[in-house]
């Protein structure tokens, strides 16, 4: 529980953070809320030589209505997202999911940017963002680029972010007709054994938590919905093409069953407007 030794640097701006990253991209890690990175370091599963603390960079914690989308600063804490009026009225799925992460301590420290950048398929916010659809704004040595969320999650703890890049803003689409979220765990503060974030309407999107090596979309369900299937019929296809993990909490087979139940419940909630 004692991390390997490391150097600590605090960045005052995005540019400073990027400059520090550039010195040794592979030996350096950005530190936001620390609630994913520090546990790994304490178990010595991550041993970065340098930590660049971006937590105090000003101006990166916000939730703004930007017309067709809502823009969220990467350093926005889960608690601030959960309680944001803009999020609650324009992207209620996201506000709701932020309130389901871990426990109050975690929600007051963890950031949406850290949650997405970490790329853990067991995390909740990535699924919400994937279901809503949107774009991630990334800054790096070559300037700013926009990455569609559909191309962001590449593998287990692996994203489209380069080692010398920083995620600065998350943009999610407004105007979903209905949404549903289901999180199944054994204790309230735990990660989901399986989770489902669903958005219904003209472009239904269903994203799954902990059903593979990345946050994934339930393509079969989406197809069925687009073709007019009932929630129950669409949900029956939830595990299609997926190879979920087997661990102490659940076997692959059980996850495959659970996801069909949870997708159905999420869709039923979404269509009745109860979330």
């Amino acid at each position: 529980m004692i991390p390997a030794s490391f150097e600590y640097r605090r960045a005052g701006s995005v540019d400073e953070a990027l400059a520090l990253l550039r010195q040794d991209p592979d030996g350096t890690k950005l530190l936001a809320g620390g609630h994913s990175l520090l546990p790994l370091m304490k178990l010595r599963l991550a041993t970065p030589g340098v930590l660049v603390d971006v937590g105090r960079i000003g101006g990166l914690s916000y939730v703004r209505d930007a017309g067709d989308h809502v823009a969220i600063g990467a350093l926005t804490r889960h608690r601030d997202l959960e309680t944001s009026d803009v999020a609650r009225s324009e992207v209620p799925l996201l506000a709701h999911v932020a309130g389901q992460v871990g426990d109050p301590q975690v929600r007051h420290r963890g950031t949406i940017g850290g949650s997405l950048a970490h790329g853990d398929p067991a995390s909740d916010l990535p699924a919400a963002v994937l279901a809503l659809g949107g774009t991630l704004v990334v800054q790096g040595p070559g300037g700013t680029r926009e990455v569609p969320v559909d191309g962001f999650f590449l593998g287990f703890l692996e994203t489209a972010l380069g080692p010398d890049e920083m995620l600065t803003e998350i943009r999610v689409r407004k105007g979903a007709a209905g949404w549903g979220f289901q999180k199944f765990n054994r204790r309230a503060q735990d990660w989901a054994i399986v989770g489902v974030a669903a958005v219904v309407g003209s472009d239904p999107r269903v994203a799954l938590v902990n059903m593979g090596s990345t946050t994934v979309r339930a393509r079969g369900v989406e197809e069925a919905l687009a073709a007019g299937a009932s929630p129950a019929d669409a949900a029956a296809r939830a595990a299609e093409g997926l190879d979920p993990p087997s661990d102490l909490n659940a076997s692959t087979e059980y996850r495959q069953h659970l996801v069909t139940v949870l997708v159905r419940r999420a869709l039923e909630g979404a269509t009745t407007g109860r979330g």
Binding site: I2, L43, R44, F184, R187, Q189, W191, L248, A250
Partner: protein
């Protein structure tokens, strides 16, 4: 300087006084071992085996010694000369018990993942951890005994060269022919198999030790997060070869133990040996992963229980066969844990024939030892689950079948078939109160409604009627069980010149609230306010004699010693008062700190003033020594036998398998209560811990013997969010065995709750054909049970209605 003794005349015993310990604990002012500031202390890190079983063929400490901040590093072989004896096991349950020598560091052979093989001492915890990471140990992996039943049949040897993995076989078979006859003639038999999974005690404060060499006054002070400072001192002396009188053990604030700190651990001995060798303070604080791997674990049994019953459900015989997982070594009382349950497999029922046997088996896993309830939760689980199966087999209501078999309130003191004398009880009384609080008939109606509509949320009601034995005693009975210690407790009560009171107890609290309870007992006795009573404990220099805190013994044994010591103070004060008032001692009446002359109440002497008179010693009766002080050591005449009924209500989602504990009713009887608020707290925590075994917790191992649940993210300790508010009730049946009339309550919640919850889950699904359920009851297990039962349920239902079957093979 006169004290106002009469003000305290209001009695406090029996009131819900707030715990005086809590402000410091809640505000962070309490000082645990890790908080002690010890200048110049070195930090120890232990290098642990990553293999369940391996030969240690080389330990290269070169790289570690070269790391910055490192002061010294040692292998097991380097320190082999430090030990006067192997680490102690105080409970050799049979004369031929096998016990492989267990030293603080393994030398040639590592026997579980977490077994220490080397230590590093450095100037900071981080430097020690970094250096430990580069110690190069060469291992030759050996076949490991991991699965308990495979180990019992010696599939792989847990210790090289041992003739068998079996540590011992212990039997209690008072009348084998009666048991055989009962089974031969039984109208119904039940045969079940249960697995008691291993549990991690997970005290909030991990273990910690800090050994400080002293320039004068003894040789070393050992600060340890322990439940047993007195036992530890004796055992450290014997094992490390340090004269006992030169060791002082202090347990500062201790953040929970649940039995896991009722032990003598390698790290305590290592810090002691290293501090003496290096002549510097040496300290160590356990990491969470170490707490999972290298602190003892609880439970770990496979149980087979059989009942023989009449057609109307009267139990005629109980036969229990246990395989108990010792882990890799015998810790302080490891082999005795199953014996603490051995007498209780017939539970609260009046059973004429009884047979118990237990095989203790070594495996290459973390040693097991006493964990909250120690033996009694396992026994209670087996009988309470089996009785439910009997009820289902006969188509009877589980409450009704229990009533039919209870030991009657008029049968106490009850001589049990297993050879105990149950002190007092009214089992049906507790059941009635519990069923009333739970609205049992209303629950059954609601359950019927849900079954009829087939809704996905099914309701289950689980009962658990328990009796347990606690306050290990008397000493001569412990001798007959081969337990190498007594069952007494010591106390001193002294009045200070200002009329304030100092109490010294040999019991050693680690969260139970002894300071509050002891001060209440003494306040009532001496007629002072509880705040005027200071309670000193957990330091062998202050309380030289004691047997510490475990097994729900503190109040019934330690509290009785306190009251006896207070009585001695009063008796001495009576002589002084008689001297002052010029009357015979027998002519004085005593109440609330005041002696008055019988028939002439205005002629009186106050205890506070007497204390001052005894202190200045200007005018004492002939031959009286100065000061008012009394000491007592109490060795009880019997165990105490708390009992009660718990009712768990669960809602089970038959689609996902999720179990929600929606209501919980606990009616406990611990005799007279000194502080019902503290009793509530003990029951609350106990229930949470027992429910945790039922629903969440398991120390899971893979086939190679690696512990998989090494963090609190994987080992699911429940939080308040997982538990409903408990409905507590109490009946009061005083124990005749001690003057307080008190019984233990520290473990009752844990003992009762596990079977109540699992019975409730099975009850929720019984109509679907589910008859068994393993712990922990995970959603997946429930889902599989529902899925597996579907289809067969019609057949089984009709069989149950015919009620003539013998069921076999429950748990699986």
């Amino acid at each position: 300087m006169s004290a106002t003794a009469t003000e305290g005349a209001t009695r406090v015993v029996g009131t819900r006084m707030l715990r005086r310990e809590d402000p410091a604990l809640l505000s962070g002012e309490a000082r645990f071992v890790h908080d002690l500031v010890v200048p110049g202390a070195l930090h120890m890190a232990v290098v642990r085996s990553p293999f369940a079983h391996a030969r240690v063929t080389g330990v290269d400490l070169g790289a570690a010694r070269a790391m910055p901040g490192v002061v010294a590093a040692f292998s097991g072989a380097d320190l082999a000369g430090e030990w006067a004896a192997p680490m102690p096991c105080a409970w050799p349950v049979t004369a031929d018990m096998q016990s492989p020598a267990h030293y603080p560091l393994a030398v040639d052979e590592a026997c579980y993942v977490g077994d220490g093989v080397a230590v590093v001492v450095a100037t900071s915890p981080a430097a020690a951890a970094d250096a430990a990471a580069v110690v190069d140990v060469a291992y030759e992996e050996l076949p490991a005994a991991v699965d308990l039943e495979a180990a019992a049949s010696d599939a792989a040897a847990a210790h090289l060269g041992a003739p068998t993995n079996r540590a011992y076989t212990w039997e209690l078979d008072p009348d084998p022919s009666a048991v055989a006859a009962a089974f031969a003639g039984a109208a119904v038999t039940v045969s079940e198999r249960y697995v008691q999974q291993r549990l991690v005690p997970a005290a909030m404060e991990p273990r910690g030790v800090c050994v400080v060499p002293q320039p004068f006054g003894g040789e070393v002070t050992v600060y340890s997060a322990t439940q047993i400072p007195h036992i530890l001192r004796t055992m450290l002396g014997m094992t490390a070869g340090v004269p006992e009188e030169r060791i002082r053990v202090v347990a500062p604030s201790v953040g929970g133990g649940f039995g896991s700190k009722l032990d003598v651990y390698a790290e305590e001995l290592l810090c002691l040996a290293l501090a003496r060798r290096l002549r510097r303070p040496v300290r160590w604080t356990e990491e969470r992963t170490e707490a999972a791997q290298a602190t003892i674990q609880g439970r770990g049994q496979i149980q087979e229980i059989e009942l023989a019953a009449t057609a109307d459900g009267r139990i005629q015989a109980v036969r229990a066969r246990i395989v108990a997982d010792m882990g890799a070594y015998l810790q302080l009382v490891t082999p005795g844990v199953p014996l603490l349950g051995a007498f209780l497999y017939h539970g609260v029922y009046d059973v004429p024939a009884y047979s118990f046997s237990c095989v203790g088996v070594f495996t290459n896993k973390t040693p097991t030892d006493a964990y909250r309830g120690a033996g009694r939760p396992e026994a209670t689980y087996a009988i309470e689950r089996a009785v439910d199966t009997l009820a289902r087999t006969l188509g009877q209501d589980p409450a009704e079948i229990r009533r039919r078999n209870f030991i009657g309130a008029d049968q106490f003191p009850y001589a049990s078939v297993a050879g105990l004398t149950f002190d007092s009880g009214n089992y049906e009384g507790a059941l009635d109160v519990a069923l009333g609080l739970a609205d049992y008939s209303g629950l059954r109606e609601e359950q019927g409604r849900r079954r009829r509509t087939g809704t996905r949320m099914q309701l289950g009601v689980g009962l658990s009627c328990y009796v347990e034995m606690c306050g290990l005693a008397p000493s001569r009975v412990l001798a007959s069980l081969n337990y190498v210690a007594g069952g007494w407790e010591a106390a001193t009560v002294r009045m200070l010149p200002t009329g304030k009171v100092q109490v010294v107890t040999g019991s050693s609290p680690h969260g139970q609230g002894h300071e509050t309870s002891w001060s209440m007992l003494v306040a009532d006795k001496l007629g002072v306010a509880p705040d005027d009573v200071d309670v000193l404990h957990s330091d062998t220099a202050i309380s030289p004699f004691g047997l510490d805190t475990y097994g729900s013994r503190s109040l019934s044994v330690g509290g009785t010693a306190i009251v006896m010591a207070a009585d001695r103070v009063i008796e001495k004060a009576r002589l002084l008062a008689a001297h002052q008032l010029e009357v015979a001692p027998e002519d004085l009446e005593y109440e609330g700190g005041r002696f008055s002359v019988r028939g002439s109440a205005s002629r009186a002497a106050e205890l506070g003033a007497l204390a001052f008179a005894a202190f200045v010693a200007h005018d004492l009766p002939e031959g009286m020594e100065p000061n008012l002080e009394g000491s007592a050591t109490y060795d009880p005449v019997n165990f105490t036998f708390p009992f009660g009924t718990h009712v768990a209500v669960v809602e089970v989602d038959t689609e996902t398998g999720r179990v929600e504990l929606s209501r919980y009713v606990a009616v406990d009887d611990c005799g007279n209560q000194v502080n019902p608020l503290i009793v509530d707290g003990q029951v609350h925590g106990g229930i949470a811990q027992g429910v945790a075994q039922a629903l969440w917790e398991e120390a899971a191992y893979d086939e190679a013997g690696n512990l998989l649940t090494t963090s609190l993210a994987d080992y699911l300790v429940p939080a308040a969010s997982e538990l409903p508010s408990f409905t507590l009730g109490r009946t009061v049946t005083p124990s005749p065995s001690n003057p307080l009339g008190a019984k233990g309550i520290g473990e009752a919640g844990t003992i009762a709750s596990t079977p109540a919850v699992v019975n409730a889950v099975v009850d929720a699904l019984a109509h679907l054909g589910v008859t068994s359920m393993e712990m922990p009851v995970t959603p997946e297990r429930v889902w599989r049970a529902v899925r597996g039962a579907a289809g067969q349920s019609q057949v089984e239902q009709s069989q149950i209605e015919q009620s003539q079957i013998s069921t076999t093979g429950g748990g699986a």
